[in-house]
Symmetry: C2
């Protein structure tokens, strides 16, 4: 799936908490965004012009992305007039919700009539996905894994892409979730892939490349999550990662929404993820730990990161607070010796 | 998915190798089958009357099952006249192939006109599947796992169901693949489930039950398979097995179709499967090893089973050659002490 750009980010009447997708796109790819499009009551400020769909199109936008989530993953009826306006103004539409744009009769009819595209990035496309071959391919890959869902795996992979590029290393973020796909402009929503094809989808997402090129593959779920570990394992095997970054949220002591499931210790998570990854890449090693410390004070966060780093003997960073330079260094060092 | 019965087994012009689904149903559920339906050139003998669709219907059949596989998982055009005859005779149709009965315009139209059902058991039904809760439920579960695909997991689970029932233990086989679903008359084709829902589908398949009741859950894939391990892990987590049976094919030294992937040692397979299963059930233990020794002589097979049993300290059987009584005993013993 390849998305047209530049983007106009539709944030509806969202507050910052429900517009995380738009915020992620604006943070990581400001150069790809020309406008935000809001409804009355919106409290989201993405630091870009707030325009009508027609004005956004005039400013160069080619795609409106639904950048907020409503209850249950629906396309809310109150958004539809604006989405129709966008189609009429010449924009394609994209969303990554459970409900599909293509299943909204008004939108489907208007898109058809006007010759516009509707991109539902969460939808499976099994017919285009091959089974995994397990065969080694050229190029280097780094996959983010986690002690739980929602611990900053996408953020860590993007931060590492930025850090490697800054050092002149060829590197590409490979998206596996909705927000990541909007940021990258392409990708595969692996949690929507038919289970038999997950590893194959991960292979296709990070194909053979130049020997020194790094793919930074966005991880999903956690090997220690009672509902989603299978998705994680398929992604690990298909990515054949040379390097893993373990992601964690400071203070998260149980799997979110599953109070009887403690998060694994970092040591356990490292051992289990390396063991799983070594099935398809014997070299696979965790090269750093990325922690979301946003809920802690500066001092507590720094102490925590230092303590973990001592304990594990691996660079331990918060991508927002400290950057990931030490992890990039460790990754390049490890790759040079294998 | 609940299938009507009795069955008429359609074997087309198959030979025994391509009619494995029909053979499995006939072997495990002869009481559910009234006829085989063949085309000229068929060399399959399921030890039941060969009837026309109309005669099968007259003999009580309610469902024709496509019990053979053609190249690429298609519904072969040469089968269609017989399938139409069956619809006209009052039978529903079922298949577990990659291509769907419902996608064949002639069959779909006839079924609609006549009010018959088309059951495509391999098709995903995400909208009906919940996410996994990870919550402990009553009843006992035993899952078959393997060193590879196609090592006798379905067979081992069915043999154990039969052995437990013989001992008066309440037990039900739970099907996760096409042939298993036809044998059980219900089930979920987990390899066709959207990846996010695999563990949830496994929970739904083996729901809470009486404390002494055993579900024998049919395993899929292998934790050590580079393409399908994610399916296996989701099934392990959702099944929350108290007991695992490890299945292996004697002499299989690499993953079928993946020559650079050796099959794991039995010790490694036991350790990794127990470790994975203990996330959702701390009691999970491998209680026996089931080996397909069909390619070996009687003496070689018996020697092999004895050697493995000594080495692992676990009962080691070939369900066909020796039966699985020792595994059933070990399973009941283990359950009694936990």
């Amino acid at each position: 799936m390849n998305l047209p750009s530049p983007y106009a980010l539709f944030v509806g009447d969202a507050d910052p908490l429900t517009a995380k997708t738009a915020a992620g796109i604006a943070y990581w790819r400001p150069e790809r965004c020309v406008a935000q499009i809001s409804l009355p009551g919106c409290s989201v400020d993405l630091k870009m012009p707030t325009l009508s769909p027609a004005a956004a199109a005039a400013a160069g936008a080619r795609l409106l992305i639904v950048g907020l989530a409503d209850f249950g993953g629906a396309i809310a009826p109150r958004w539809v007039p604006t989405l129709l306006e966008a189609l009429n103004a010449g924009l394609d539409l994209a969303a990554g919700l459970h409900h599909r744009l293509a299943d909204m009769p008004e939108l489907a009819a208007a898109a058809k009539r006007l010759g516009r595209n509707l991109f539902d990035v969460r939808q499976p496309r099994p017919e285009q996905t091959p089974f995994a071959t397990g065969e080694k391919r050229s190029g280097k890959r780094c996959l983010s894994v986690g002690t739980d869902c929602a611990v900053g795996k996408m953020f860590a992979s993007l931060a590492l892409e930025r850090e490697l590029r800054r050092r002149g290393v060829a590197a590409d973020f490979r998206a596996t979730g909705q927000t990541g796909i909007f940021i990258a402009g392409s990708g595969v929503s692996v949690d929507a892939v038919i289970s038999d094809f997950v590893a194959g989808a991960a292979e296709a997402l990070s194909p053979a490349n130049a020997p020194d090129h790094w793919d930074l593959v966005e991880g999903q779920g956690s090997l220690h999550h009672p509902a989603y570990a299978g998705v994680t394992l398929g992604l690990i095997h298909g990515s054949q990662p040379d390097a893993l970054i373990l992601c964690h949220a400071m203070g998260r002591d149980h799997i979110d929404g599953y109070p009887s499931y403690p998060t694994p210790t970092l040591e356990r998570a490292i051992a289990d993820n390396e063991r799983a990854a070594q099935l398809t890449n014997h070299q696979a090693r965790v090269v750093g730990v990325s922690v979301n410390t946003s809920k802690a004070s500066e001092q507590d966060a720094r102490d925590y990161l230092a303590r973990i780093q001592d304990r594990l003997g691996l660079p331990c960073c918060d991508p927002v607070r400290t950057g990931v330079a030490p992890i990039a260094e460790q990754l390049l060092r490890t790759a040079a010796t294998t």
